[in-house]
Symmetry: C2
């Protein structure tokens, strides 16, 4: 009942040819005559032979495996990205090996070690940073890294993000145009470039009109933290009339608190704007105005960067920023005559 592996040697024997011939038939671009290919494929088919990827990778140095490091899948943005990444890579013959981490350096380091043990051809980190030591190790091992939705200064790391600065600014302009005067921000985790950049862009946008946010709290990209922040900001008498929340995942928590705990009307009493445009944002229950991170294009950029390094030996580090439109929906007051970018 144990497995009965069929190897290229078996096929060779059955077809009456050499093992190398079999190998060549299954290696795209190798030199084989049609006759040979026929013979071999027939034998292979009868035996149910398929090349062993692991053995192959031992010799080619290519495993066809991409390591994905991710901290949590609760924020819908990430499963969505994972699905798209996996599908896109699959079309190129690669597959994703998943590594869950908690977002501290020790955990990332440990996991990344295991990752390299698998001889992955490349690494994608989703919303996870890397220590410099680690970046050095990957670089030394010749394994390209793309930070997906996270920036970092290291000169060895590719990165793909949305244009968070521009996005933050656009949201500031939108809220100002809507006539809001007391504008707050529940920010993304300050330990992340995305959180910092969105805040910086947002502040810059307000500052251009001589405005300052009435409050700015780190929501840590967590529902609970964001909810607590919302309670703090909006319980008092002199509450803000608008809030930009650092991502949709937190924005949902904030809206829940505003509506169901504090009985405030959104957008009547408070305008709420998020960031990401996850599928849930367009569901009528939230109908959230939010800045879209174009995950399709981000995935595309990630995959092409990675494959460029792996298959074409590229070695220019790319720091890609992709602009996204503001998705205007019902959770924030819409300024008179504001152009809808989606049109």
């Amino acid at each position: 009942m144990r497995s009965e592996k069929v190897t290229s040697v078996d096929v060779a024997k059955k077809a009456g040819v050499s093992q190398s011939a079999v190998s060549r038939v299954f290696t795209p671009g190798a030199s084989v005559s049609p006759k040979m290919a026929d013979k071999v494929l027939k034998a292979a088919d009868e035996l149910g032979y398929r090349p062993n990827v692991l053995a192959r990778s031992l010799i080619t140095g290519r495993s066809k495996i991409i390591g994905l490091v991710v901290a949590y899948l609760e924020n819908q943005f990430y499963p969505d990205a994972l699905e798209k990444l996996s599908t896109a890579l699959q079309e190129h013959g690669y597959h994703i090996l998943v590594f869950m981490v908690s977002n501290d350096d020790a955990s990332v380091d440990k996991v990344m070690g295991e990752l390299l043990d698998y001889q992955v051809d490349g690494i994608i980190t989703a919303s996870v940073g890397m220590s410099n030591a680690l970046a050095a190790r990957c670089s030394a091992a010749g394994v390209p890294v793309v930070l997906f939705n996270r920036g970092q200064d290291d000169e060895r790391l590719n990165q793909v993000t949305s244009n968070n600065l521009a996005g933050g600014r656009k949201i500031a302009e939108f809220l100002l145009a809507g006539g809001h005067t007391k504008i707050a921000h529940i920010a993304g985790w300050s330990g992340s470039s995305t959180g910092r950049d969105r805040e910086a862009g947002f502040r810059a946008g307000l500052a251009a009109a001589g405005v300052e946010p009435v409050a700015c709290i780190d929501g840590m990209y967590k529902r609970e933290t964001a909810a607590a922040a919302a309670r703090e900001l909006f319980s008092g008498k002199d509450r803000p009339d608008a809030v930009f929340v650092g991502n949709d995942h937190m924005a949902f928590a904030v809206m829940d608190v505003l509506r169901f705990e504090l009985k405030l009307d959104v957008p009547g009493d408070v305008s709420v704007v998020g960031y990401d445009d996850v599928p849930l944002a367009s569901w009528p229950a939230y109908d959230l105005t939010t800045l879209r991170q174009p995950s399709n294009r981000m995935v595309e950029a990630t995959v092409s960067t990675l494959l460029g390094w792996i298959e074409e030996g590229s070695n220019d580090v790319r720091k890609i920023q992709i602009d996204g439109p503001l998705m205007i929906r019902g959770s924030a007051r819409i300024p008179q005559g504001w152009p809808d970018e989606r049109l």
Copy 2:
């Protein structure tokens, strides 16, 4: 700038021992003297040596890779399960290789072939069925399979589900006790055992009280299909006063239609009950009454089954059903004195 692999041979040379000695130091349970271990570990450390998992698996026949086949991650139940599965397996030294499929046999067959090429130690399919031919191939290859959240009659396939029959019945009883008289069902995909079992249990529960559902539509586990079904069911004059929706993901779509398109009150006009208890179900915006699939225990059962086959050579096929409680929330009328199972 290309990679400089350091192998066990390098370490052996540096430590002045044989390659086998190095191998043994890194093989748990092998016979090595403390002195030897010290020498080798020191050399390994200085060179930054780590064993090559792929080369190792070539010889041991164990890749430490588990293939996960999954159709879509939009339904929050699956990313949640994926996260838990991955974390649990990681603790045992295994990792998940992801394969996305569309849910038709051809796609599954193709992908499953690639899967076996990677010499995976085991396969988990999440909400995806398998052709018999495929089951046979996995079995012949000695690769254990666990169907997660999907049942199938094949005698070679392990499976872990919630008790869908009991769950469906429990929901019927709950709705009947609430005094509902016109009860409809927007069912899970009829091509899946979960969809069929939930419906069967639900019908049985109603039948026990001499009641029949006023309507029963296949929602295909898709938002759009479920929404269309809701429009059809609830647009007319003589609308149902309760609906059991085959999973939470569809139930959210149904609630959106009821509230925002048809301006009906939930649960005032219509009671809605879902199935899964994904995190979103407990958010106040939906506050969905739903039957919990205990994903923690389902994951635990999946992992222990799989590891039993892989590491202990178990070969009894397990068909595990796990009971879950009804999570009573605000989307359905609560019968007088109905016991809260969670207490």
